[in-house]
Symmetry: C2
Subunit: 211 residues, 2 copies
DNA sequence: CATATATGAACGATCGTTCGTTCATATAAA
DNA sequence: TTTATATGAACGAACGATCGTTCATATATG
């Protein structure tokens, strides 16, 4: 049979999509080893054997999910990437907060799969993701629109500050949305974003006393 | 035969300790469903059947580990609790950083078990832990030595600020020690603690420009 | 026809748990 | 003390269920 390499058969990957969606739903709910191939087949509405027409092993399904998510996650039109690249730090601190919220909501499955990998595979599939984290933020800061650096206090490392802000928001919304600890600061999301931005910009201390 | 109910046979719980230690080591490495009771028995140097003289089910071992850790975690002599209760915010920001590091290192198994619960049990065993988080920090702030509140800017919620600082350090060291992303800010621990404290105290913005 | 795609029974391995048994020790009876 | 009885820790074979994976076969597509 001839298959033009770039061309895909149009209508015959419906089951592949169903299998991936089912695996994502189950892996993020009960983990990898807690999910059986029969669970996946039943959830996908597909026969058990048919899964192995698309994937050689159960782990291959998991890896495929991670790769698909990672690829989409770093697309320049995704909220956090867009916020990092389009606006300039530190003017965009609140924007980073809302972009973090949007990212955690949109990529909740991805983030949970990363946790699954950390817990059940000693992070072996995602280790490379974390390896050069600072370099990634530094690159984003180089690429961004100019005009923020002079607003940053001279004794503050701008890249580290950007990471601190981003991860603070990120972890807050992971706790809110993925660990389902709703309102754990006793504030609505919007107020929390504002509070964090307020503290990041001018600090916790009152102004009259030098620290 | 008569057995006095309150009386216990004296010294025979060495194997119980071995079983718990083995289960902790394996659960934190490969997750709950990825660890078999035979794995635990082998690691503990104990027979398979003997495990069931101490625990009715595998899940009961897991729950027992969580409960033991939780109890110890909240003892007033543990580093983070001690820092929260003995010194006053915001003077103790750096101390909170180092206490967070000590806590993550000392309770690494506990934290990993919490992640296991989130990933494999939908957080059903630890959900109550997170439920009243703000109330716990508010109580700690009430109990602490007095004398810090007037140093906090009037538009900053002190309890939320305390939570923000603590969780920032906490998540930093979880990434460092448990996810094994060493030096992900490109700084040694001590410098990272100082940098975060600097930003938390006086903010990212340079002083001359109002925000 | 030839070729993907789909099915579910079947395989061997491993799972959590149970079972019958052994054995060292503790107490009761002698 | 010696003997009898009771206890429960410890063992590992065994059980039924379920696991990931394979395979023979069927159907649909071209």
């Amino acid at each position: 049979m001839k298959t033009i390499p770039g061309k895909k058969k149009p209508a015959q990957k419906a089951n592949l999509g169903r299998i991936l969606a089912a695996a994502s739903k189950l892996f993020t709910k009960q983990g990898f080893h807690g999910t059986s191939t029969r669970d996946i087949a039943a959830e996908a509405g597909v026969s058990l054997g048919n899964i192995y027409n698309y994937f050689a092993t159960k782990e291959e399904i998991f890896v495929s999910l991670l790769e698909t998510c990672e690829k989409e996650y770093f697309q320049p039109d995704q909220p956090l990437i867009k916020a990092l690249l389009s606006s300039s730090f530190p003017d965009n601190i609140e924007a980073l907060g809302f972009a973090s919220r949007a990212t955690v909501e949109k990529f909740s499955a991805y983030i949970l799969l990363i946790y699954v990998d950390v817990v059940e595979f000693e992070a072996k599939h995602v280790a490379k993701l974390f390896a050069n984290m600072r370099a990634g933020y530094a690159a984003a800061m180089k690429t961004r629109g100019a005009g923020g650096l002079e607003k940053i206090a001279p004794d503050v490392d701008p890249v580290a500050a950007l990471m601190m802000v981003t991860w603070n928001y990120y972890n807050y919304f992971i706790m809110e949305k993925l660990f389902k600890v709703k309102g754990h600061y006793g504030l609505p999301d919007t107020e929390a974003v504002k509070l964090f931005a307020r503290i990041f910009k001018r600090g916790i201390l009152a102004r009259k006393t030098g620290d």
